[in-house]
């Protein structure tokens, strides 16, 4: 029966077994093998492991093509990714065994380093794939991104209308915050979002404090939290303006929480994508380095 199953347990861990057999086989061969001199890529085992490794890399790269062959009936994407992850990981071992743990400042080690970066970025990717989907769902709370944006646009319009009835200063503050609210943008801005709504909220609060101080007699001490504000307001005089102010506060606070949610949403999505910008270009670089490595080994040893 069809069930949601992750990439790890695809086909009862088929590719985990394959990669374990491959790894164990390589280790056994490596230990059993007694090369002339130090173990390295030049022995017959070195060649064998090198060929396996190179073919693996080519096949891992092919994943990018398979991902875009939507009509392909060769396995499912989940199967491919499961194999990609397990076999890609076993590549670490195979590469080191292939080189006999020799490194140096040369093209061969460059290929190794690139490969390791690609692989570790892959690990990070898998981590995000496991961790963030549920985070995103919780944060979205059944809304779509568009519906959140729509609601923000509406709140903006409402806030302006309310501010209009209060005071030109407040209106200007709200307007400025709307004009400056940016959602999304580059990855860096995403990670450190600044929210103009906070400014507007602060200004509205200050305005209220000033306005209500004389009227409410002894000023309350802690005016900085919104909740206190609301308490205070409901106790205080209920003319049309404070009513509008109260609504304005609610509106701005609601908008604040919505922008938070959208930003979080975008952040999470970005995290699930960003690593591919390392993984894929470097895998291309790896292809180049690997070619250089193979050519240099065969022509200039």
């Amino acid at each position: 029966m069809a069930m949601h199953e992750s990439i790890f347990d695809y086909s009862r861990y088929r590719y985990l077994w394959v990669s374990m057999v491959l790894s164990l086989g390589s280790i056994v061969a490596y230990l059993w093998h007694d090369p002339i001199g130090e173990p390295n890529g030049g022995s017959w085992l070195g060649y064998t492991l090198g060929t396996i490794g190179a073919l693996l890399i080519l096949w891992l790269l092919w994943f990018g093509i398979r991902k875009r062959s939507y009509k392909s009936r060769v396995g499912t994407m989940r199967g491919w990714l499961s194999a990609h992850v397990y076999l890609g990981t076993s590549l670490i071992l195979i590469a080191f065994l292939h080189s006999g743990f020799q490194v140096g400042w040369n093209i061969h080690t460059l290929a190794l380093v690139l490969m390791l970066i690609v692989i570790f970025s892959g690990f990070f990717g898998v981590y995000t794939y496991v961790r963030y989907p549920a985070v995103m769902t919780r944060n979205r709370d059944s809304a779509t991104r568009q519906s959140l944006l729509d609601e923000i646009a509406e709140l903006d319009a409402q806030a302006l209308q309310l501010a209009d009835t209060v005071d030109p200063k407040v209106h200007a503050a709200v307007l400025r915050s709307i004009e400056r609210t940016e959602i999304g943008g580059s990855f860096i801005t995403l990670l450190r979002p600044s929210d103009e709504t906070d400014n507007a909220l602060d200004q509205v609060k200050t305005f209220m404090e000033q306005r209500d101080k004389p009227a409410a007699g002894a000023p309350k001490k802690d005016m900085s939290t919104m909740f206190a504000m609301v308490d205070f307001l409901s106790a205080g005089s209920a003319d049309a303006k404070s009513d509008a102010l109260r609504k304005l506060l609610d509106t701005l606070a609601r908008k604040r929480s919505l922008t938070d949610r959208i930003t979080r949403d975008l952040q999470v999505q970005a995290l699930m994508e960003i690593w591919l910008y390392v993984h894929v270009p470097l895998s291309m670089a790896l292809l180049a380095a690997l070619t250089a490595h193979v050519v240099s080994v065969f022509f200039y040893w």
């Binding site: 029966m1 069809a2 062959s69 939507y70 499912t76 994407m77 990714l81 963030y132 769902t137 699930m272």
Partner: protein, 802 residues
């Protein structure tokens, strides 16, 4: 004295127009009465530039007017020219309100504008669109009052009153409000008929005060004003008193009155109350009122070419001439591989003699029936359909016999002979075929598609009765006593009757005395129990299964509550009769007992994890109760890469048929907007060319003869059908990769609007029936988040996830 004509034709749609043109061509005295100021209102109201299709392609056109596939404008233009050339006597603005047979013969035709005329014969070609309801107050026809709205963007800065409470009114009001002041008048006290999204939109606007709304007012009159800034005013009676609103425009969207009332008023009888029923007419298109003829969509022929042919033919018939129906060559062709075929008429006579079920219908209905059907003469031993196929056609045996494999393991078969029928189970339950049917010697079979069969069942009561009777006997036998002869069941069959339930209706309650068993023949039920004051769903039972046996086998009270998950029908068998059957039949008793213990165990298991029941309830609330296959996404696995959508678009001409993000989520189970391949697909309901079919594996798909009318888009409650044009071709994967050519795989095409928008056709998920290995969306999901499952799997699914 009213003018007298030989033929009065009501309605200038393709049917009426063609009739009038033929009459004019022959010089017969005639009048064509059309309510609107233009011809063919249905086609006139198509979207601008719409590409009109001339399905069915094989049917030749018979009409003095031209008609071939082309734009709406070209077709209307050709008809206008034709009408002028032939000097058709057309009277616009004449809405016919009454037709009465005169004692001395002929009819008195009365119009809403008080015009009257006498006609020897009347041809009704008023289609199915009905008449637009007007305001019903003085001033309703002023130019500032309009009853349609093509482009809300055309108005700005105006004060507009929108009257109505339906979706059309709400959509118009919301769209107009963007750049106008809109006031809504709802003649009831709430917006009950509207779709969810529209309802939310309008209630919000009203609440926020941006769109004032008057409930329950009585409009009194509309007046045009010559002075002041506004063009007119609307006077209305509100609960607070009389009020006037200065306006630029009134847009009234009050729906249309179905033409049925008017037609019945003319004396025409409909065979049943079902809205899809069409009046019975003779092979010459004459209704039960002698001299009153019906053509076109109203007669049940929903395509332009059919209507035009009938218009031509009906005039020939009125003049007493014999015409070979246009479909004669088609029928002859269809029937040519029938052994010993002589003529179409002889074959039809044979059917009426040999097949009791089809002897109840008129020869014209039978012709239509045959035209929709396939005739097979399979070799003995050939498979007609296989068990578990999802097809839903209906078979009648004209000659020879077939064998039904009731038990494959023991190779038990029963024979069905000439005059009997089969395939009714798939048709009625919308489920997989219950048994394989093999052709016997000399078999000649008529295979009829679901739509034609349903239409027949709806329009001929006797057919419905006969099929239901056979259905009950066969369903009970195949479910309960497949090993013994059907006679053993007589008592039970006698006691059985068909019961209908609406979605949410209670079939029986926990604690009720158990006095009957229900075998579900259509729809599905949920089983739930009160646990800790909360209704906990324990199970979901699909069509073909039974409920209520527990009380009859063991304790005599119902141990759980059973509800209809969707609109459902069951066969209710009396408990006493059923108990006696069990006593007589030890095999049945043993089997029921085994199923009983399995169910009890599974219910207990579910009771221990109420979260599973919540998932089932959630799925049912999303309409999964009528699904045969539904796409579910586990949001704990979905990385939002949209590869599923990309794969869908790439394998389906560039438009994705699923919307991954939209749709509700519960406990990380997300139901995206995607086709569920319903048991009884709503989308099939009104498809004029009958282009929507079900493939043997259950896929509901749209064939190429779609005419793009958009009915299915409106009828699908899950919003999964779109009208889309074919996008331009993309470069191949390699040229994109190597040379950076064009939009790559998975990227949006150059310009989504570039396709010829006038040639839009309906597109929907076909579950990739033409690709091996299952749906592309599921195959392309890299993380295993997307799966498709059927209702049989809901319980295991829910259990697995809780």
């Amino acid at each position: 004295m009213a003018e007298r004509f030989q033929i009065a034709i009501v309605g200038s749609g393709p049917g009426g127009l063609s009739a009038a043109a033929h009459a004019a061509e022959l010089g017969v005295s005639h009048v064509l009465l059309e309510a609107e100021p233009h011809l063919s209102n249905t086609i006139y109201r198509y979207q601008k530039g719409k590409h009109v299709m001339d399905e069915p392609g094989i049917l030749p056109l018979r009409s003095p007017l031209e008609f071939k596939a082309g734009t709406r404008e070209a077709i209307l233009g050709a008809w206008n020219d034709g009408v002028a050339r032939l000097a058709v006597n057309v009277k616009h603005g004449h809405e016919v309100s009454k037709i009465t047979a005169q004692p001395g013969g002929g009819f008195l035709v009365e119009c809403a504008n008080k015009a009257q005329m006498i006609a020897d014969r009347v041809v009704l070609g008023i289609g199915l669109q009905g008449n637009i309801r007007k305001l019903g107050v003085p001033g309703e026809d002023l130019p500032i009052v309009q009853y349609t709205l093509d482009d809300p963007g055309a108005f700005s800065g105006e004060t507009i009153v929108v009257v109505g409470a339906g979706d059309a009114a709400i959509e118009n009001a919301l769209a107009l409000a963007k750049q106008n002041t809109v006031i809504v008048i709802n003649r009831r006290d709430e917006f009950a008929r509207a779709k969810e999204g529209n309802l939310r939109g309008i209630c919000k606007a009203i609440e926020e005060g941006t769109m004032p709304c008057y409930y329950n007012p009585g409009p009194e009159k509309v007046e045009a004003l010559n002075v002041g800034r506004k063009k007119g005013r609307l006077v209305l009676q509100t609960p607070q008193g009389r009020a006037q609103i200065l306006i630029d425009r009134i847009i009234a969207r009050l729906g249309a009155s179905a033409p049925r009332g008017f037609v019945e008023g003319c004396g025409v009888k409909f065979p049943s109350k079902d809205p899809s029923a069409v009046p019975a007419i003779s092979p010459q298109y004459e209704s039960n009122v002698p001299g009153l003829y019906i053509v076109g969509a109203l007669a049940g022929y929903p395509l332009i070419k059919q209507a035009m042919n009938q218009g031509y033919e009906v005039v020939e018939y009125i003049l007493g001439r014999k015409v070979e129906p246009a479909d004669e060559p088609l029928l002859r062709d269809r029937l040519k591989n029938v052994p010993n075929f002589r003529s179409v008429d002889a074959f039809i006579a044979d059917i009426q003699r040999n097949v009791p079920l089809l002897s109840q219908i008129t020869p014209l209905q039978l012709r239509e029936f045959l035209l929709d059907s396939e005739i097979h003469a399979p070799k003995p031993g050939a498979t007609v359909f296989a068990k578990n196929d999802y097809t839903n056609t209906f078979f009648s045996i004209v000659e020879g016999e077939v064998e039904v494999v009731v038990d494959a393991a023991q190779n038990r078969r029963i024979k069905l002979k000439r005059g009997e029928f089969f395939g009714e189970m798939g048709l009625i339950s919308g489920r997989r075929r219950a048994a394989t049917v093999l052709a016997g010697p000399g078999a000649v079979l008529i295979e009829t598609p679901r739509r034609s069969m349903n239409r027949l069942i709806q329009s001929v009561e006797a057919v419905k009765r006969e099929i239901d009777k056979v259905f009950i006997a066969r369903a009970l036998q195949s479910r309960f006593t497949p090993e013994s002869p059907i006679e053993r069941l007589n008592e039970v069959v006698e006691s059985a009757r068909i019961v209908q339930f609406k979605a949410g209706d209670i079939v029986f309650n926990e604690g009720d005395p158990g006095d009957c068993v229900h075998l579900i023949r259509r729809g599905s039920l949920t089983i739930s129990r009160q646990i800790g004051g909360k209704d906990v769903v324990l199970s979901y039972v699909a069509a073909g299964n039974y409920v209520g046996e527990m009380a009859l086998l063991g304790d005599s009270r119902r141990s759980a509550t059973v509800r209809a998950a969707i609109a459902s029908e069951t066969i209710r068998v009396e408990g006493e009769a059923f108990k006696r059957l069990i006593q007589r039949d030890p095999i049945l008793r043993a089997r029921l007992q085994a199923e009983y213990s399995a169910r009890t165990a599974s219910n207990l298991a579910m009771q221990q994890m109420p979260a599973g029941g919540d998932i089932i309830s959630f799925l049912i609330a999303q309409g999964a109760g009528e699904a045969t296959d539904i796409l579910l996404i586990d949001e704990a696995l979905c990385v939002r890469c949209d590869n599923c959508e990309k794969a869908c678009a790439e394998t389906h001409g560039g438009t994705s048929r699923l919307d991954r993000e939209a749709g509700p989520t519960f406990a990380n189970v997300h139901v995206p907007t995607s086709c569920r391949h319903c048991e009884h697909p709503h989308c099939m309901k009104d498809c004029p060319p009958d282009a929507i079919h079900r493939a043997p594996n259950g896929e509901v798909y749209i064939a190429d003869n779609c005419i793009g009318c958009g009915n299915c888009e409106r009828n699908c409650p899950y919003g999964v059908i779109h009208l889309a044009a074919k996008p331009p071709k993309k470069p191949g994967l390699l040229s994109w990769l190597m040379f950076g050519a064009g939009p790559g795989p998975g990227e949006a095409p150059y310009d989504p609007k570039a396709g010829k928008s006038s040639e839009k056709k309906a597109v929907k998920c076909d579950m990739c029936k033409d690709l091996k290995g299952g749906p592309a969306c599921v195959r392309a999901c890299p993380t295993g988040a997307a799966i498709r499952i059927g209702p049989e799997e809901f319980r295991a699914y829910a259990r697995n996830r809780s």
